[in-house]
Symmetry: D2
Subunit: 284 residues, 4 copies
């Protein structure tokens, strides 16, 4: 993969944003390999993502940021420049169901993403051997009603100690405390085993079975203090029919969960996801 | 299309149902062209649908029913034998949006279904000429808050006068009174422009936009006294992204609505839909 | 719909294209409502589409083109500026199967697209009344092996007389002569009832049935002199199984054909499709 | 999972098959939990699959077969009764790409299927540690142009020694010799990384890119002596666009391959797949 700088920004929409940014990049010989824009017609907010080849610029990421800063200030941008050479650190949380964990580690092994997995945290010891076989530290942090506060303090400490960039709840069957959610905005990603906003909360496949829906789904979203209500990154569905029992829906669902989590996480890792209120802009 | 008798039934599950029915049919030389079964593991209810070539039996539909009756009684069946030669009479209700109406008439013209359309009823006069050009009577029955009761009495009279088998709400933007819904159980089919149970009620595409979902859908269901809560016959979805405004979702949605309504209605017309509580068994 | 100018271009990729174009637009106060870029990593070709609000610019489309011309020359652009206020003229060709024709006219009636339909041309007289009821002229141009050359000369004359922008083969079951295809590059759109490149030529659903595929599809593409081999604009599929006979595939296929043709044509009408060799760039 | 006997059969279609089989089962108190039929209208062949609870019958699988044999002979059935308690033995063949292997082992670990994996065979040593960590023997059988005959003799010996029921080519990048294919009809399952019959042979994603298709797919099929031409069990597709390079298609494709292989293999393991010439009947 070519070494790139990825610029993402949002700001109030007005004339001249693209001209200012692209002229700045062109003035330094910057080679844009991918560019995406979005203007929200209602909120009048503008969103942009640019990938620039690092070797086309005469300076490094630090100086890029310094030189861009005045333009960012002029347009009141919420912005960020990411260096593709720096691997993101992904901390995985899992419970007993291992299908998403298996899938994430398989992708990591196959170099689908250039990431580090500094550790896996679980409220069960089930997957210790599998994780450790991959050379990844495994932390067993049991969660009980009485120890919940302490347990999540430990989770936060482990995440900090691991210098985690993003926390992935890969079918981690615990509700995170609101304070933890708010501490890491847009840095905690969950896979919900239902097609939100239908079937929030527990046993979504059983809810779907009871309602008799003809498609079941899964939703990858950022975690906020409002349970199952954070901005949606990706969703997908699979067809079911009357012959499918709840256990079948669970089984089909696992395949959707793996795929939807992987796609959603992939967009996040590539800095393709910008937040717009309760919604996401995903520059695929 | 071959002349067929279609037997549908449901009954408490026990040993010997299939044997009894298929032996009865075989004893009279009946040629089964399609057979479907479903046993619900929880409710212990059994569902069956059989298509038998009419010309393979030595008697007509009336005698078929008489001879089958004792078996039906023995197994406590909820059953029906339909003669494929008798065209179902489909009454269409529509408001101002004509995409589903156009689509239904196109299918009728193309003989996709062998049905009669004795009339179209609308609370607006918009589509009169188009419907009448097809040689179908058009009834304008305005609905206002004060005339609602009378209006729906008229709708019921027209449906009776037309000897309607099924009433199709093809984007008919009025809520039917509960008494009307209960009068015609499993005979009123609605297309809801949302992926139920998400986004019930008004403006589902705008609700979907606000929530930032990545797929929008439509739902074809039987109408019951509980708004948007009847048994689901068919659903489907289409992918959307951040660049789609509510008007785009409405536009994509129209295509899903047409297809989902056509598929759901088609299953109903072929007697492929059996009711199981809040769910449907659809023998596709 | 807001009055907009739509700029589309492709040119050899190099530094500064976006900067040059966006600076030009910004210098005149142009408000970009939608912008899309694509750089092909192999061919080193760059593609761009911009929508600019007409009322944000101090000049009309003619002057816009004149002022942009020097930049276009500098970068060796293949370019075009389209005025959204000018309705495109769509000439529809159809044979006996009317489902795509019905669907296109329904969309036109519902103002899904702001187009003119100056005429419909058919090798059969089947749909004359339906078309004329819509107030659209209908031309019956029979095609036989011996009259083929003359018939297509007539088709071309009618298309010219109608000042057609685009010719839509809406299940027009005749192969166009190569000379006609070459006369209107990227202006003739076909819907093929198969998932190209599988199942070219005649009876694709029967070919699909024989091969036992589990999905059938349809393909919307530009017509070139190579039968069923032009650049693909849009495709989609539907699931089938062993119980579906060729007639079922044909029936499911009709729904895919309608949707895929409508999507493909819609992209073309919005100037979202650029050609890149045998492929298309579709800025959705 | 309940202990069941699974009866699958095909025979010339005629009156009385279902009656004969279901009466036989009912006469012994057999509880049918799932029943599927299919009559091919052209070939006049009939297909059936029944699941019967083992504990509802007064005899075991051996006597079941003996008692059913006369009926099978009478109707000239091609038939089989499988005991669900006997775990199928699945031998996996893999090359260097491990995504399907990872996925299959994850499903086996999660008890999605009740199978044995007696060994994994590969022409590379890449995945030895991963396989052996799972407690599964790993055989490295290199394949070179000159050793090909000997290598596949070894593969066949290992398959025999492992008492394999089915051989799964999980992205095994070698073409099996025709003799091996013919030795194990309907017992070798391949995942092809293209939407057959498009893009047979090598580098199907690159072929798809060159042709500019808008969907890429994967195909799970039985292996026959005709390369990529065996009966198709399952297929699926994913949407792509102009911004996707061949490496992106490969990446999306991996997800489809995993899912399609798992679904296809699952149908086979449940004895849901019957062969009908070049096609399959899949009783899902």
């Amino acid at each position: 993969m070519t070494h790139r700088y990825i610029l993402t920004l949002s700001c109030p929409d007005r004339v001249g944003i693209v001209a200012a940014v692209s002229s700045f990049i062109a003035a330094h010989g910057g080679w844009i390999t991918e560019a995406s824009h979005h203007a929200d017609p209602e909120g009048r907010r503008f969103f942009m993502r640019q990938e620039i080849r690092a070797d086309s610029l005469p300076f490094g990421v630090k100086e890029f940021r310094e030189r861009l800063a005045p333009i960012a200030t002029e347009f009141a941008m919420n912005w960020r420049v990411v260096d593709s050479a720096r691997k993101k650190r992904v901390v995985i949380l899992v419970s007993q169901l291992g299908h998403c964990l298996y899938d994430l580690l398989a992708r990591w092994q196959a170099h689908e993403w250039e990431i580090e997995i500094p550790c896996v945290i679980s409220n069960h010891d089930t997957h210790r051997d599998f994780v450790e076989w991959h050379g990844i530290p495994f932390h067993h942090v049991p969660v009980t009603p009485t120890t919940k506060a302490q347990a999540f303090a430990t989770v936060a400490e482990l995440f900090e100690a691991a210098a985690g960039d993003v926390m992935v709840l890969a079918r981690y069957m615990q509700v995170l405390p609101p304070a933890l959610c708010e501490r890491y905005p847009q840095r905690i990603i969950n896979i919900h085993h239902g097609f939100l906003p239908s079937f929030k909360g527990a046993k979504p496949y059983h809810q779907a079975y009871e309602r008799g829906v003809k498609l079941v789904g899964a939703t990858c979203h950022y975690v906020t203090a409002d349970l199952d209500d954070g901005p949606i990154i990706e969703q997908d569905v699979a067809r079911v029919d009357h012959s499918d029992e709840p256990s079948d829906l669970v089984r089909y669902g696992r395949d959707i969960e793996k795929t939807v989590l992987a796609r959603g996480l992939g967009y996040h890792l590539d800095d393709r996801v910008l937040i717009h209120g309760r919604r996401t802009v995903v520059f695929r």
